[in-house]
């Protein structure tokens, strides 16, 4: 086989999986584990970046195992997938470096209640983390609904292990809720796949897109709603979001960060993919999504305002800002989807950064509770800057990336101009203001208020933050700032990705270049032998 850009497509799945096996075998050699997983994720990110460039010329498709599309499983790296892959690869690499920094220096520390602080059990942490990376990549690349389900299961199984690391009482409690909800959403997704297969006779996304117009409208609507329900649980859209703020904060800081950044976005990605390529314009569903987006924003942010723990506060803002992305998707226009895609990129970076910073705050101040923190701006000015920049980006203060994403959404909402989108526009602004309130409250209490005795004592003890944790966090903050610098080209890319997705034809065309001819269901060799006998 000669080398082509298509050779790179399976790498984001294969490299982490292969490295996961290696690190599991080398569980007695933590240093080797660190080298292997860092190398694997760095290579994954590079491959994704190469795909990002290549996919701008048109989707890159690989038939796994050399079987043609409807029989074999295609991996499709179009603009949307490649963009998601690159961002998730970079973020996962930074979080891995952060957790390595934490694991090295974390042994002798004691948290606020006098218990030994988090020490990530290195032996199983690396393999599980890499499996999670493989699952996320597989979900982004899959051109087949059933393979998308498998990707989800891979990342879910890994996330179960990561969320209950160490098996403490609190994590098992939070983990049970998360596991049961996730299992239910998987079952819903699997039954949706079964019903899609029953209705269309295929689970290949491109072929389903070709055949769905012939399916009875009611059946098609049912399939769409079932898929939306399954993805809605994963993306934490309002009535299905109650599990998230409860389960995420109990995990170790890097795990929470990567979950917050990526797992819900995989759900949002799946919604964008199925809504645009498969089902196209469905005004009734879009209206329901708009209402849900508004509810997600408001309920989420009101929850955040009521919290006095930074981790829980951020989990609620996470739910709230999922609403912005759904708002973009639900407008069902190119500009709306483009804004949603840009917002996903912004939000992955910023939300992950914030959770990492909170990990640093916890280490410096000994707690994440706003009542027990204070005066950090004087004690650790660098940390204050690391918190302030992504927090303002989350709120949407110009010229940070959050502002650009929101402007895109609001402009498209105003341009669409139906009463409902105007309500959404007002709701978005209100949510942003409330986000500002919540974040500033956290800032005032943690960084500005007179420090309680405990923090003063800790600062006398001179607990310096390990460089291995600060470095990756600073890198992510810088990446968040860089999003503003490259916003022009990036937004253009998001617009092209959205246009291709909304059209849907380029996706189908890439998987079936010669119409339906390519996939007659037989590989030539086997057919010939079959006819001989």
């Amino acid at each position: 086989m000669t080398w082509s850009i298509a050779t790179l497509v399976p790498l984001p799945v294969l490299l982490p999986l292969f490295a996961a096996g290696l690190t599991l075998a080398l569980h007695r050699h933590p240093r080797m584990q660190r080298v292997i997983s860092t190398t694997a994720l760095a290579a994954t990110t590079l491959a994704s970046a190469a795909l990002l460039v290549a996919a701008d010329g048109g989707p890159v498709v690989v038939d796994v195992g050399g079987w043609a599309a409807p029989v074999g499983i295609p991996l499709v790296a179009d603009r949307l997938s490649a963009l998601m892959l690159t961002v998730s690869g970079g973020v996962m690499l930074c979080v891995l470096l952060y957790s390595i920094g934490q694991g090295v220096a974390g042994e002798a520390d004691v948290d606020a209640q006098g218990r030994p602080a988090e020490v990530v059990p290195v032996a199983i942490y690396h393999p599980t983390y890499l499996v999670l990376a493989a699952g996320v990549s597989n979900a982004f690349l899959s051109g087949d609904l059933f393979n998308l389900y498998v990707g989800f299961e891979i990342l879910l199984a890994a996330s179960f292990v990561l969320l209950t690391l160490g098996g403490t009482g609190e994590r098992i409690r939070a983990g049970s809720v998360y596991v049961v909800v996730s299992l239910l959403s998987s079952l819903l997704f699997l039954s949706a796949v079964a019903l899609v297969y029953a209705a269309t006779g295929t689970v290949n996304i491109a072929q389903v897109a070709q055949r769905l117009p012939d399916v009875d409208e009611t059946v098609s609507l049912g399939l769409q709603l079932l898929l939306l329900l399954a993805f809605g649980i994963k993306a934490a859209i309002f009535p299905l979001s109650a599990w998230l703020p409860d389960s995420y904060p109990t995990a170790p800081a890097p795990v929470t960060a990567v979950f917050a950044g990526l797992l819900t976005k995989v759900g949002v990605y799946s919604i964008i993919r199925t809504q645009t390529v498969l089902f196209g314009d469905q005004p009734a569903v879009d209206r329901v999504l708009l209402v849900l987006a508004l509810a997600t924003m408001l309920v989420g942010i009101l929850g955040a305002v009521a919290q006095d723990d930074v981790k829980r506060l951020l989990s609620f803002t996470l739910v709230s800002h999922i609403g912005f992305m759904i708002f973009g998707v639900a407008m069902a226009s190119e500009a709306g989807t483009a804004a949603a895609i840009f917002y996903v990129v912004h939000h992955i970076t910023v939300q992950t950064t914030l959770f990492l910073v909170v990990g640093l705050v916890e280490r410096r101040g000994g707690s994440t509770s706003l009542e027990r923190l204070g005066g950090l701006a004087r004690v650790a000015p660098g940390l204050a800057i690391l918190f302030f920049v992504p927090a303002m980006s989350l709120v949407g203060i110009p010229p940070l990336s959050g502002f650009l994403g929101k402007v895109g959404l609001l402009a498209e909402g105003a341009r669409t101009g139906t009463p409902l989108t105007w309500v959404l526009v007002v709701g978005s602004v209100l949510t942003s203001l409330l986000t500002l309130y919540a974040v500033v409250k956290a800032w005032n209490k943690a960084f500005w208020q007179t420090p309680p005795e405990e923090v003063v004592q800790r600062s006398h003890a001179a607990t310096h933050l390990p460089r291995g944790m600060v470095g990756p966090t600073a890198a992510l903050v810088a990446a968040g700032l860089a999003l503003t610098v490259v916003a022009g080209p990036l937004y253009g890319y998001a617009e092209r990705a959205a246009a291709a997705s909304m059209d849907g034809r380029s996706y189908v065309q890439a998987v079936f270049p010669d119409g339906a001819e390519r996939g007659t269901g037989h590989s030539d060799e086997v057919t010939e032998r079959g006819e001989d006998s």
């Binding site: 059933f146 009482g169 299992l183 239910l184 079952l187 079964a194 689970v203």
Partner: protein, 169 residues
């Protein structure tokens, strides 16, 4: 190519319905082991759905092995069912381990209320005396109400006035 007949068999459809219904009932329980049983039952129901989606059974799906004119089974549905059975098995193992760990730690495997629920319940409990206090005299006071009244009196005496009471909460 001979097309398979696609009408699903009633027995399978009823079986799917029963499995999913029983599964949903178990899933709503508090104990993790029952939730797990529910998950397994619904999982089997969904697997059957996949099988039904593949059409009626025929001869083995090997090209050339089927007698002339005999329809073959749909191998794709079976491949998908196989994959999902394996996934269900792995997740079952994990949930069992988690239920056992929960049993080790707290002596049962029931899913606890989440933090927010418990906080709201605590707040409600803290607020409850102030509300029941007003009409308690007509309906006959319980011990709790009396205690609440005493508590409120002490509060009122200690504070400068009614206004501060609202502020204190």
């Amino acid at each position: 190519m001979v097309m398979l007949e696609n009408t699903p068999s009633a027995v399978l459809v009823v079986a799917i319905g029963v499995l999913v219904a029983v599964g949903v009932h178990l899933l709503l329980e508090r104990s993790l082991t029952r939730v797990l049983l529910g998950f397994i039952l619904i999982g089997n129901g969904v697997n059957l759905t996949l099988l039904v989606a593949g059409g009626r059974a025929g001869s083995a799906p090997i090209v050339g092995a089927a007698p002339d004119g005999q329809p073959m089974s749909d191998p794709l549905a079976q491949a998908m069912v196989l994959t999902s059975i394996v996934i269900t098995l792995a997740l079952t193992g994990f949930v069992l381990a988690m239920a056992y760990r929960s049993f080790q730690l707290v002596g049962h495997d029931e899913v606890a209320d989440d933090v927010e629920d418990r906080r709201i319940a605590r707040l409600a409990a803290a607020n409850a005396p102030a509300f029941t206090d007003l009409d308690a005299e007509e309906s006959g006071q319980t011990l709790d109400d009396e205690a609440a009244e005493v508590h409120d009196d002490v509060e009122a005496d200690g504070g400068p006035g009614g206004a501060s009471e609202g502020g204190a909460r």
